[in-house]
Assembly symmetry: C2
Homo-oligomer: 306 residues x 2
């Protein structure tokens, strides 16, 4: 799957992933109202509004981008109907040729991690027939439980030719509380990065591996070090845009081949219509505003990488 991602990145010239993280605040009123009228002002109505919102955005930008990253929490918050919207979104994005990174940050022990991996990246067999729960191409994984918690995901990735991004250094302000703690003089995130590199060697597809890492754009200096520690891992970089990361901060997340990183923006794209910069589109044309924001992001990153 990493090669499909790289192929998509080369085709679009945009190492960009659009975070499909809908919230009631971000979805324009006219979309909510229409769906409340049709399905009720309840979880069903929200579920349908989310899917319509996502679909419009995807229809507006899919030819410009290699991948999307739905954050499952934003769907799970609406219970089963919310997760139905997640599932429909994943399937729709795949039908448009996009690579889908499920931002699920799961992680547990042994057979429990296997259950998550099968549910999101693999399949279950019932009376000899295969069924898929959710159907992402990649998933994000939390490493706090150690190899026991990550290896089951890697096993499923090998079987299914899918991939994971392991949280190494997250983009949030308090990520250092545990991740930066020094272990024998080295921050914990480096130790996690070294493990990611070990895991990555188990499932290479050419230069890159099915095992990537998450490193926040908000910590460019650490990104530089982690880039060297995990040379064969793609780095998924959140924190661009709304969280404060800029194009110039991203240079060191990339390898010399111009590959090796993919940068996420969520609110900055899907909520572009509500920003002053794209206000001329108006809420009615939120898809066009998202397209303009994607083009600007692509150009910002391209000029930084020159």
């Amino acid at each position: 799957m990493i090669n499909k991602l790289i192929e998509n990145i080369k085709k679009t010239g945009a190492p960009i992933v659009v975070g499909l993280d809908p919230t009631l605040k971000l979805i324009p009123d006219h979309v909510l109202e229409k769906n409340y009228k049709e399905y009720g002002a309840n979880l069903e109505g929200v579920s349908n509004a989310i899917f319509e919102y996502n679909k419009t955005i995807v229809d507006s930008v899919y030819d410009l981008i290699p991948a999307v990253k739905p954050q499952i929490a934003m769907y799970e918050t609406f219970g089963i109907p919310g997760l139905v919207a997640f599932d429909k979104t994943v399937k729709y994005c795949k039908s448009k040729g996009l690579v889908v990174i499920g931002d699920i940050k799961r992680g547990d022990i042994g057979s429990t991690s296997t259950a998550y991996a099968l549910g999101h990246l693999g399949k279950v067999t019932i009376e000899g027939k295969d069924f898929r729960g959710f159907e992402e191409d990649f998933a994000t994984v939390n490493p706090y439980l150690g190899s026991d918690g990550v290896k089951p995901f890697i096993d499923v990735c090998k079987e299914e030719k899918k991939g994971i991004f392991v949280l190494v250094k997250t983009s949030n302000p308090s990520s250092g509380e545990f991740q930066d703690q020094k272990v024998d003089g080295k921050p914990l995130y480096e130790l996690v990065g070294e493990k990611v590199n070990e895991w990555a060697q188990e499932c290479r597809e050419g230069d890159y591996s099915q095992v990537g890492a998450v490193v926040g754009a908000t910590y460019p200096e650490m990104g530089k070090i982690l880039r060297d520690i995990m040379p064969n891992s793609y780095i998924l970089v959140p924190g661009y845009g709304a969280q404060g990361g800029k194009g110039k901060d991203l240079v060191h997340f990339f390898n010399k081949d111009g590959l090796g990183a993919i940068v996420n923006s969520s609110r900055g794209i899907i909520g572009a219509y509500a920003q002053e910069k794209y206000a001329q589109y108006g809420a009615a044309n939120y898809g066009d505003a998202a397209r303009a924001a994607v083009i600007d992001m692509r150009d910002d990153i391209a000029s930084a990488l020159k």
Copy 2:
């Protein structure tokens, strides 16, 4: 909610939580076959089989135990239909007076953690009306992202009078890979424990807090130290039974008041019928086997605590 849990523990005399972690291997054939016949040999059939299996076990043991802990991965692996079984299980257990600990191990940043917290412990408001996604009483939380990732759960706990158990030292063999790393001479799990104690002080209900911790039964010496570091936190102890922990290992997880810990067993209870010790019940009476296993576990722990 911690006081409801303590009340239930006192009433039953059993600091026990039954892990409702169904797998296709654990569910007796006659239950699967019946549901496949009625709903199809597919995800719907499995979903209904899981709920029937859980319901029979709950009906057989609910008067003996204070709480249950469904592991959401075992449901999520079957996609939306699996999560429908999770939701029905949570609601059914609550209708029987049980405290429900959602073993979800979620954790993300800021507004994303808020979304998880609202979806599992809180509510969302749509056009002035409240809706609940899932409805657990407690949730387990992964601390790797730091305070940013945990605080949103605590805020929702305060609002809803619900609780969380933060992963401190997990029961699996490789938990030490990161959790045991020494930071200024102290293992990381102690640092996390200290943070848990800080968070716990924010939402006490008398002697105990809505913020508890997860510490594996498989590491009793560490449990002893962590007990002292987090005096007001309930410790949720996995790893008893199938993972190797025994009653005598559990003594130090409890406070001098005889409270402060609740011990989980999953396969050891729900799969008791398949063990030699309870084979006389047969697969047809898996509920009775579970009841016998709960009584043995309760007595094992009670005699260790004497």
